[in-house]
Symmetry: C3
Subunit: 246 residues, 3 copies
């Protein structure tokens, strides 16, 4: 139900199980993790997670299957471990990661989007976190990440009341950074990122993730080919600008 396609710019993981609203069976998390690893080590500049069906980004875990956990404590631990593992892997991607959200984005689907660096959504996309409707809870790391994005109050609002909010409201509260209703979801931003230096993007990602040694990487970048090229093209543009102004 997951496919990976890689171009020079984009490693794209597409969720494709529209007939089940892109709900993820337990056994599939490991497959997603495999693709995330492959995307991370690919030559592509960024990793995009999207859906083949505009009606659903991802409905989260396949609820119909979870009854297996009622009487099997060991399986619960494995289930949680599988989700923790794939989401941890998404957060560990060493390049920009972007979720393109069209349609429903629920539960672990929302955790998946929240584990990316950036969320671009249709204004009529739907977001909800509903474990409290089913007598269950939500993993610690996912809650932390959502609190970082929307603050503790909005996290409580979403999780206690289980309401469904639109892309527009998700944008207002910080769960989504860009609302995009143009023909091709996310295209403008992905094109913008493509204009950035891949090594800069990796350094910036490492810096945001609080990784070790980023100040040394900051210094080292001034010795890079990307900097020489970047600064030369900047100077050229500036002189062009002067001519066109003059």
């Amino acid at each position: 139900m997951f496919t990976l396609s890689i171009t020079q710019q984009i490693a794209r993981i597409t969720i494709d199980r529209g007939e089940k609203r892109n709900a993820v069976p337990m056994a599939e998390w490991a497959n997603l993790e495999r693709l995330v690893r492959a995307a991370n080590i690919s030559e592509a500049v960024m990793v995009v997670i999207d859906s083949a069906d505009p009606a659903s980004f991802c409905a989260g875990s396949d609820l119909s299957e979870l009854t297996q956990l009622c009487h099997d404590p060991l399986k619960r631990r494995k289930f949680r471990g599988a989700m923790e593992s794939v989401l941890g892997r998404v957060r560990a991607i060493n390049k920009p990661s972007i979720a393109l959200v069209s349609g429903g984005c629920f539960g672990t689907g929302l955790s998946l989007a929240a584990a990316c660096d950036l969320r671009i959504a249709r204004s009529d996309a739907s977001f909800a976190i509903t474990p409290a409707r089913f007598g269950i809870s939500y993993p610690k790391d996912d809650v932390s990440r959502i609190m970082q994005l929307v603050g503790p109050g909005n996290a409580a609002r979403l999780m206690y009341g289980c309401e469904t909010i639109t892309g527009t409201e998700a944008y207002r509260m910080g769960l989504v950074e860009i609302v995009d209703d143009s023909a091709e979801l996310g295209r403008e931003m992905l094109d913008r990122i493509s204009l950035s230096s891949p090594s800069s993007l990796n350094d910036l990602k490492a810096t945001m993730a609080g990784r070790w040694g980023v100040n040394n990487r900051f210094d080292a970048a001034f010795g890079s080919k990307d900097f020489t090229t970047g600064i030369e093209s900047y100077k050229r543009d500036k002189s062009h600008a002067k001519i066109s102004q003059g």
Copy 2:
């Protein structure tokens, strides 16, 4: 000046000293704390803090009384301790806590609302943090909590300039999660929370509060009666939905 009423769903603490804009005399903080403890150990699913007077949520500490502190350092320490204790108790509630804010919400009144998980306010409610107008400061934990909700910049804006903002502006900056101008303040959201599983709500609260062992609670919930019931009613609803669609 504080009353507690408990139903199966809601433990409701009501501030009732409208003639003094619900300002709290020093000696009353201990009474509020007693009610918060009782609300916390009650059978109710959630704790609500509201006001009997729509013109005032809570004006904070009773300023006319604070002149007693000018020449009595020991009393200052006791005063701060009483506030720290009650606000710490509010933050330690192990179920959802919701402040319903109508009218003025100032100083320690605002700290009280900020110590709850969720704030629902009238659009014309008034919020301000004004110790700088009186030559005093604001407690460390209260400042931290407000910074978490609105960010360091907006906290500085409120505390340095002492301006009064409306419920609408408080919502924009994240100090309030829901603006509600319907007949009964907060009713819609409280009804929503009532539809959630009480044990889920407790688990989610513990997770947001960063408490210990929440991942074990996450696992255990799959063995709960609430989960069995929740998932069965979900499947039933889904088959109904199919019939109605078919």
Copy 3:
């Protein structure tokens, strides 16, 4: 290119190199730091950083000069150290610090504004973080501060895509706390802060900065002259209010 003027209320540091969009040559950071230190120990109540040219707050580091760093690793370390030092000094100011942003605010210029407690901007000001266009990165502390203001998602949006946003959009995402298009940028808020007690402002700043001993300072303030004066004038205003109402 930096000037400092001090009144009883405001220590004002003005950036004045409009012909170069207020871009800062490497050697100038030390001069700015000297002025920040002087502003901090002055009698003024608050520190304001603004620009002499409404078209530019600060374009950041002077890019034309940075080619010197391509083959000189030691100079890179010194360059980063100079910026870290001045921005750390801004963050260590023990009174309110306010950036007044009109026109372009880019790169280290944006870091400078972000290091202040509060940002007041024209709605048509321009903000961007563009190191990724030049093959370089952005310092760790600056990234942390921006993440605190706008959240990790919006920080990624700005740094990956290098887009230029307006003051209005910066306000929406929390990078700016006040949009002000009145005749004199920031005047209303600076006047408001002038009405606050200077010792309160210092205590509140220390509390937001997480400094040591702030609860003792909270207690001590009740023994201050500012509190006695403040509470007396409050009582007087209240009795006036009663008379005028009666």
